[in-house]
């Protein structure tokens, strides 16, 4: 036993921990250290050893049967052999222990065990096990948590809230779907209305106070959880307490958090309701009323070069004209991009008039907008052959719907699925100069990640189809039949497999391109920022910089299994020794995760 402990101790002190910063919920160790999980567990075990192996959190039902058991037949435990390491052994992702409370936070009643007490570990482990077991049934899960066997000996509500938040904020992913934690906390509040909501409010206040050092992925989840939670409780909150954040620099995390929360609250209810719920002082942080702007009917539109065509377009669409007629209206629009040689690949004015008008006509609801996209799909495709044109479609959509982020999100989703735009066009658009105003807005990153996810799902789907087809040919090879028949079938299958292989290759190259675009644009904007700060002698570590570098981390983390496939390419092309050390560090931390 002694030797075992000495060996573990030596191992623990030798471990490389480059990966830790990328997994931390908070970058600061104040007020509570954010420890690597094995380091923490080892400290707890060492302390337990000093305390003569005492703990108070393991249920021992066998003590009640002592009389019977002491006379019972003894069984030998089978020997335990650790499974050997193979190349495809999957190891759990390392984690960082989430701590937000200590004994001073729960003022009355039983005392919370300290960070390095093994009791803390045991309570957390037990609560986590209850959560994992009952995750499909949120009501039962809440009931089981509140029925914890040692509930009277510990500040249970504090432990529960810490463990639930700990899972919700776990990086790279929460163990269960995010919305589960929202509904679990709602059930807990309903079951324990006299005490749990207060603890949750206290915890929320702490998260808000510590938001400046919170990882951006966790801030996103905090925004989504909090707004959704409020929507179940009539948006009641001590809003007055947060009014001071309105006075802060709007690029800082607190006002940004409140701004995003209010935006999400509006999406779950409606603009007027939220305006009437929060103090008037919140004005600058309130979202716009989610209306569209149709350029060709604004005051002064008469002088715009596309107005006549736009109005013709409206009349023709209302008269149910054929697509050719509509294209005819657009045909004569002058091309502002045309250079001296008369060579121009696409006409931005055509796109502007068409997209503005179609979105304007479909402005009544999502359904109206979707049917507009579907109805004019042919024209969209014709106008958007090349990527530059696709980016211009997205830019025009932004001009129309910039006050309605949710509309932009669903429109981009539909345009990707119907192949009006491709994934790299969306990424390039989000990084473009026109969008730099919104670069730190949540919706931009929701669109980015949703785009990447769609790309990844597409590759997975083609890969699976190919796998299925290959399996089928192998199977049919075993079957007996006349030779001619077999050859015929084989040929069909081979053609099918060839076709699928081609599709997979093109999907994979599109996927690779998407990641290259994203990482390259990241390196560009970050390098530019660092360079600008160096020449002007300013501190580079601004709120914008932290926000952006954490968004870069987020791309790595949320899509790690896909990014891993392109690691060599990334290392050779983008994250080279020429890249600034600050940016390179993110790449190295990511690589260390699986080392």
């Amino acid at each position: 036993m002694e030797r075992l402990l000495t060996n573990i101790d030596a191992y623990i002190s030798k471990r490389q921990k480059v990966h830790v910063p990328i997994l931390r919920v908070w970058s600061s160790d104040i007020p509570h250290p954010q420890e690597e999980y094995l380091d923490c567990l080892w400290a707890q075990i060492k302390k337990m050893r000093m305390d003569k192996w005492q703990e108070r959190q393991i249920v021992r039902p066998y003590l009640a049967f002592d009389n019977i058991l002491c006379e019972a037949l003894q069984h030998n435990l089978p020997p335990y052999n650790a499974p050997p390491h193979t190349d495809d052994s999957a190891y759990p992702m390392p984690t960082v222990v989430f701590r937000m409370f200590d004994y001073t936070d729960a003022p009355e009643g039983p005392v919370m065990p300290g960070h390095h007490s093994v009791d803390r570990y045991l309570i957390e482990e037990n609560l986590r096990r209850i959560i994992d077991t009952y995750a499909v049934d949120r009501k039962e899960c809440a009931a089981q948590l509140l029925n914890y066997p040692f509930k009277n000996k510990i500040p249970l509500n504090y432990h529960i809230v810490e463990v639930v938040y700990g899972q919700l904020f776990q990086l790279p992913f929460a163990p269960h779907v995010d919305v589960f934690y929202t509904t679990l906390l709602i059930e807990l509040c309903k079951l324990q209305p006299s005490s749990l909501p207060q603890v949750l409010a206290q915890a929320t206040e702490m998260l808000y106070e510590r938001i400046d050092t919170m990882n951006i992925s966790c801030v996103d989840r905090f925004v989504n959880w909090f707004s959704h939670h409020l929507s179940n409780f009539q948006f009641r909150w001590s809003w007055d307490d947060w009014v001071p954040c309105v006075e802060l620099d709007s690029s800082l995390y607190k006002p940004k958090f409140v701004q995003e929360v209010l935006g999400k609250c509006v999406r779950l209810s409606y603009h007027q309701r939220i305006v009437e719920t929060v103090p008037d002082a919140y004005g600058p942080l309130l979202p716009h009323e989610p209306n569209h702007v149709y350029k060709y009917e604004q005051e002064g539109a008469g002088s715009l070069p596309g107005t006549v065509a736009a109005h013709q377009l409206i009349a023709s669409i209302k008269a149910k004209a054929e697509p050719e007629e509509l294209m005819n209206i657009l045909k004569d629009l002058p091309n502002p991009k045309k250079d001296d040689d008369g060579e121009a690949a696409f006409n931005p004015l055509k796109i502007d008039v068409f997209v503005q008008t179609v979105l304007h006509l479909g402005c009544k609801s999502f359904s109206h907008a979707f049917s507009a996209l579907a109805k004019f799909h042919g024209i969209f495709r014709e106008l958007a052959e090349e990527e530059e044109a696709q980016i211009h479609i997205l830019r025009t959509m932004y001009d129309v719907w910039k006050k309605h982020p949710q509309m932009m999100f669903v429109l981009v989703d539909k345009m990707l699925r119907t192949q009006i735009v491709n994934c790299s066009a969306v990424a390039n658009w989000l990084f473009s100069h026109d969008m730099s105003q919104d670069f730190t807005r949540l919706y931009v990153w929701e669109i980015m990640h949703s785009t990447i996810r769609k790309m990844n799902k597409h590759v997975d789907k083609v890969q699976k189809e190919l796998g299925d087809a290959q399996q089928k040919t192998e199977k049919s090879g075993d079957k007996s039949g006349s030779e001619d028949e077999m050859q015929d079938m084989d040929r069909v299958d081979e053609e099918e497999i060839e076709r699928l292989q081609e599709r997979l290759e093109s999907a994979q190259s599109e996927q690779k391109k998407l990641f290259l675009v994203i990482f390259q644009r990241f390196i560009m904007v970050l390098t530019e920022h660092l360079g600008r700060c160096e020449t002007s002698g300013k501190d580079f570590n601004t709120a914008w910089y932290r926000y952006s570098i954490e968004r870069l981390q987020q791309i790595f983390l949320q899509h790690h299994s896909t990014v891993t496939k392109y690691l060599d390419t990334l290392e050779n092309l983008l994250f080279t020794s020429d890249t600034d050390a600050h940016i390179l560090q993110v790449f190295q931390q990511f690589c260390a995760l699986r080392a």
């Binding site: 499909v136 049934d137 589960f180 509904t183 999406r267 779950l268 409606y270 609801s365 949710q406």
Partner: protein
């Protein structure tokens, strides 16, 4: 005790207009990616439903339930997901929570068919809103037929003021 999974259970309600046998219907329900959502406020919009239901996964489409006569929302909808797994999460984590301050209810649905977006009540809305005795400002006041029978003012009262989740 086995762990109950609300996503694997079928509710008691069966669509009476389903074309096919009861077994077919139940098999359909067990494979479906579509949910029926009920007890919505008439004022709840498609956008809000996207926002809430999008938390469980990518939504393929939403079909708003409409009053047969007025063609206005009448308090239900169908939500279709791309995958069964997302729809199951929705059965676990959305049913019984609030939207526009109302506890909404989700049920498995065998899949949307044209015509099903309309209320099946005599007055055009849902059957449950015909004889309702309570005053529900989110769902047009009193039940339509109840209001006609018991209230000399008839439809006038029904169109009276919005409640907490009133019109925008």
């Amino acid at each position: 005790m086995p762990i109950r999974d609300p996503a694997k259970e079928l509710g008691a309600y069966r669509d009476q207009h389903y074309k096919g046998s009861r077994t077919d219907q139940e098999r359909h329900l067990l494979e479906s990616t579509t949910l029926y959502v009920g007890n919505l406020s008439f004022y709840t919009t498609e956008e809000q439903i996207y926002e809430l239901f999008g938390k469980c996964g990518d939504i393929k489409r939403i079909i708003m339930g409409l009053d047969k006569m007025q063609r206005t929302p009448c308090g239900f909808c169908f939500v279709e997901y791309y995958t069964r797994a997302d729809a199951e999460n929705c059965m676990r984590y959305t049913t019984g929570t609030r939207l526009d301050d109302r506890i909404i209810r989700c049920d498995w649905d065998a899949g949307f068919k044209e015509g099903r977006q309309y209320g099946r009540g005599k007055s055009g809305g849902q059957v449950r809103d015909e004889y309702r005795k309570d005053y529900d400002p989110g769902r047009g006041g009193y039940g339509k037929i109840t209001a006609k029978q018991y209230n000399p003012l008839g439809p006038m009262l029904m169109s009276k003021g919005p409640g907490p989740s009133g019109p925008r």
